[in-house]
């Protein structure tokens, strides 16, 4: 099943390919959390991971920037390539990988610093700016990309924790954008936000697609339908179906996918 999905229909164009994952297994201690997942993630595309709670979609997302390395009992097997390079190869520094593959978390987690310093944190540690003026430029650009500039331009020195929930999440997106990543991973970025803030973030995701490959984990099928072009459905650690979003929601191939999107499981 996996073969006819992935290999058969979805290798559209090798040049657009960002991530190529083959037979990925993840173990938490003795628990086999991800089983044989193979997926191709395209550049300048929003890919949504959907599925019931505990199905492994967040775990798989965290494999893509090796955030699972910070969990001692977690073990990842299989082949994950970013632009044709194995990201789990010993010569790859996870720290540098994460600068290329940014991540936004479920709960907004601004640092207890000023808005400016929140954005400047990444560029500073990676030495992206040669002087203060360039850093200012990066901060402004990132905040504009995060659709937050107009709201905060007069109070850049105020703490980032003082913003509203939706603003905080956009600050976190802007912070992730500031290191010029190639891929942006989002782990349920709207689940802690109210509908208005959610709409703003969704709009932002659509704009980010111009420059980045975006992978978003979401519990909301409407959200997946609204923002993504590709959708992957996970169930019990397996990748059940991966296809164009329209196809998944209108004409799913697998009965489990159909049950989930019509609300019978999950």
């Amino acid at each position: 099943m996996k073969d006819n999905n992935i290999e058969g229909r979805l290798l559209v164009d090798q040049r657009d390919l960002k991530f190529k994952a083959r037979d990925v297994q993840v173990y938490y201690g003795d628990n086999h959390a991800i089983k044989d997942v193979s997926v191709d993630i395209l550049d300048k595309t929003v890919t949504a991971f959907i599925g019931p709670s505990g199905c492994g979609k967040s775990t798989f997302l965290r494999c893509l920037n090796r955030m699972n390395d910070t969990i001692p009992i977690c073990r990842v097997e299989g082949d994950i390539q970013l632009d044709g390079e194995d990201i789990n190869a010993p010569e790859v520094d996870p720290v540098q990988l994460r600068a290329r593959v940014g991540m936004v978390f479920q709960k907004p987690n601004p640092f207890p610093k000023s808005i400016y310093d929140n954005i400047a944190y990444g560029p500073r540690i990676h030495g992206l700016a040669r002087n203060k003026a360039e850093l200012d430029e990066i901060v402004e650009q990132s905040l504009r990309r995060g659709a937050l500039w107009d709201e905060v331009k007069d109070r850049l020195q105020e703490p980032g924790t003082g913003l509203s929930g939706g603003q905080q999440q956009r600050l976190c997106i802007a912070r992730a954008v500031a290191t010029h990543p190639e891929v942006l991973l989002m782990d349920e970025p709207c689940s802690a936000l109210d509908p208005i803030a959610t709409a703003q973030v969704e709009e932002l995701i659509d704009e980010l697609r111009q420059n980045f490959s975006v992978v978003i984990v979401t519990h909301s099928m409407q959200q997946a339908a609204r923002v993504s072009q590709k959708t992957a459905f996970f169930h019990l650690g397996n990748l059940v179906e991966y296809d164009d979003t329209d196809t998944i929601f209108t004409n799913p191939q697998d009965p489990r996918t159909e049950s989930y999107i019509t609300g019978r499981i999950g």
Partner: protein, 489 residues
């Protein structure tokens, strides 16, 4: 009845009340599920009403009765026989001793109860009589003292009878009322909880009142000191040279050299404790594996359990001689003896390491994992995350921990006495012997001290000054912690 028996009696009454109240409640309904409260609450309610008011009255009576009796009896002492309140106090303590002696004599059968009342100094040798029952008096018993003692005994006996009556009456009354009220609809649970609330309030009040009492006792003695010694001298004099020759006579009691010693030693201690403690905390909380942490953290905390006198010995026998071989005459030649600011400061620093490390470790662990994830996801290394995200987020708490350690350092005594010497000196050389406020409080109050002389009273002024300094530090710590606490919540 003696107070202890009285106490036991009402305790027994309360226990009986518990059993009976419980039974009555159960008997008052056909099914104990129909009771308003669980059966035990009815029992506790009866026990509480029998015990609570009675024991309160008992306690209050035991405190107040001696005061009233003293007041009554002291009127019997003619005003010409004493000069001031101090002399009256001495006479009154004589009266109490004689009264006690009479009581013992009656108990041993040397005197009859009636005989003790009619005894008088003209016809018998009271001093010899009391001597036979083991109460030795310094001088012959004066007639007014004997009379006062007899009056004292009578009043105390009457008081004890009234107390016994009142307490027993109250206990029985409480018991009866609560027992009579007990039936299935009584809201015993709410009553018991109200009673508990008052118990909690009482406990909090005791803690607060004790603090106030300590401050007041310091304050009065401090005021007394400033009557005997000019305050300007105390705060501005650069010399500490109490004379022990006699009253007053040429003592120089300046606090500045002592404060200097206190701060110098504390700063050395913090310079040792803060970096070591903080680095240890960072290692333990962020880098150490679970197994290392499980061993290292308790080991570090053992340091906090060592009594300070043991640290003092360590300073005296190990740190001092060690420093002396390096910085003494055979080495750099800066140090003339084992006791020095460095000796005490380094030892105190070791003592403070677990304070700083343990508190900082907790605070670092309290920084949400989301902060770390956020930083790692931006491609930061562990040490960048630590320096630029975790430590700034934990800073208010760490500052609080450091200030707490500082107030420990300022209040520390034993290490100073053994490690830093006793010479009050204003010097910049950290290898000189110096002393601190606390060590001088000890030396001013140990031995035979006259509590009316400024040389002894200065201890209270020193204590008050120290209290104000540590209070300011604690308030500062609280302020900092409060101001920045919400940052990552």
């Amino acid at each position: 009845m003696s107070p202890i028996w009285l106490f036991i009696t009402i305790l027994v009454l309360a226990a009986v009340g518990f059993v009976l109240g419980r039974q009555r409640a159960i008997a008052s309904v056909d099914d104990h599920r129909n009771l308003h409260s669980r059966p035990n609450y009815y029992g506790v309610n009866v026990a509480m009403l029998a015990f609570g008011p009675a024991v309160l009255v008992l306690g209050a009576w035991l405190v107040i009765q001696p005061i009233i009796v003293n007041q009554m009896v002291s009127k019997l002492i003619p005003a010409r026989s004493y000069e001031d309140a101090g002399a009256l106090n001495l006479i009154m303590s004589d009266v109490q001793r004689v009264a006690e002696g009479l009581g013992t004599a009656v108990a041993e059968g040397t005197l009859t109860q009636a005989g003790s009342r009619t005894l008088d100094t003209e016809t018998s040798d009271v001093r010899a009589l009391l001597g036979t029952v083991g109460v030795a008096l310094g001088s012959e018993v004066k007639p007014e003292v004997l009379k006062a003692a007899q009056r004292y005994r009578a009043a105390a006996a009457t008081g004890a009878w009234i107390m016994t009556g009142a307490v027993l009456l109250l206990a029985v009354a409480g018991f009866t009322v609560a027992y009579a009220q007990t039936n299935g609809r009584l809201r015993a649970r709410n009553r018991v909880e109200t009673g508990m609330l008052w118990l909690l309030i009482a406990a909090a009040t005791v803690a607060i009142l004790t603090t106030i009492g300590i401050v007041l006792s310091l304050l009065f003695n401090t005021i007394e000191f400033f009557r005997a010694y000019p305050g300007r001298e105390f705060f501005t004099s650069l010399e500490w040279a109490p004379s022990f020759s006699g009253r007053g006579g040429g003592s120089k009691l300046g606090i500045i050299p002592l404060l200097w010693g206190t701060f110098y030693i504390s700063i050395v201690a913090l310079l040792v404790a803060v970096p070591i403690g903080l680095f240890a905390a960072v290692y333990l909380s962020e880098y150490a594996s679970k197994r290392v942490r499980a061993v290292a953290k308790p080991l570090l905390e053992v340091l906090a359990g060592i009594p300070t006198i043991v640290y003092g010995l360590f300073a005296l026998l190990t740190v001092g001689p060690l420093l002396l071989t390096i910085f003494g005459d055979s080495g750099f030649g800066w140090m003339s003896g084992g006791r020095a600011v460095m000796t005490a400061g380094i030892t105190m620093g070791v003592m403070l390491i677990p304070f700083v490390s343990s508190l900082s470790d907790d605070i670092i662990n309290a920084v949400p994992q989301a902060m770390r994830d956020g930083s790692y996801a931006l491609g930061a290394t562990q040490s960048e995350t630590m320096r630029q995200v975790i430590l700034p987020a934990a800073l208010p708490g760490i500052v609080g921990a450091i200030l707490l350690a500082a107030s420990r350092a300022i209040g520390e005594t034993m290490i100073v006495v053994l490690g830093a010497g006793a010479a009050a000196r204003l010097s910049l050389n950290p290898f000189d012997a110096m002393t601190t406020v606390t060590a001088k409080i000890v030396s001013q109050l140990t031995g035979d001290s006259d509590f009316a002389s400024p040389e002894a009273l200065v201890a209270f002024a020193l204590g008050m000054s120290l209290f104000l300094v540590t209070l300011a530090l604690n308030v500062g710590a609280l302020y900092i912690v409060r101001k920045y606490r919400e940052q990552y919540e």
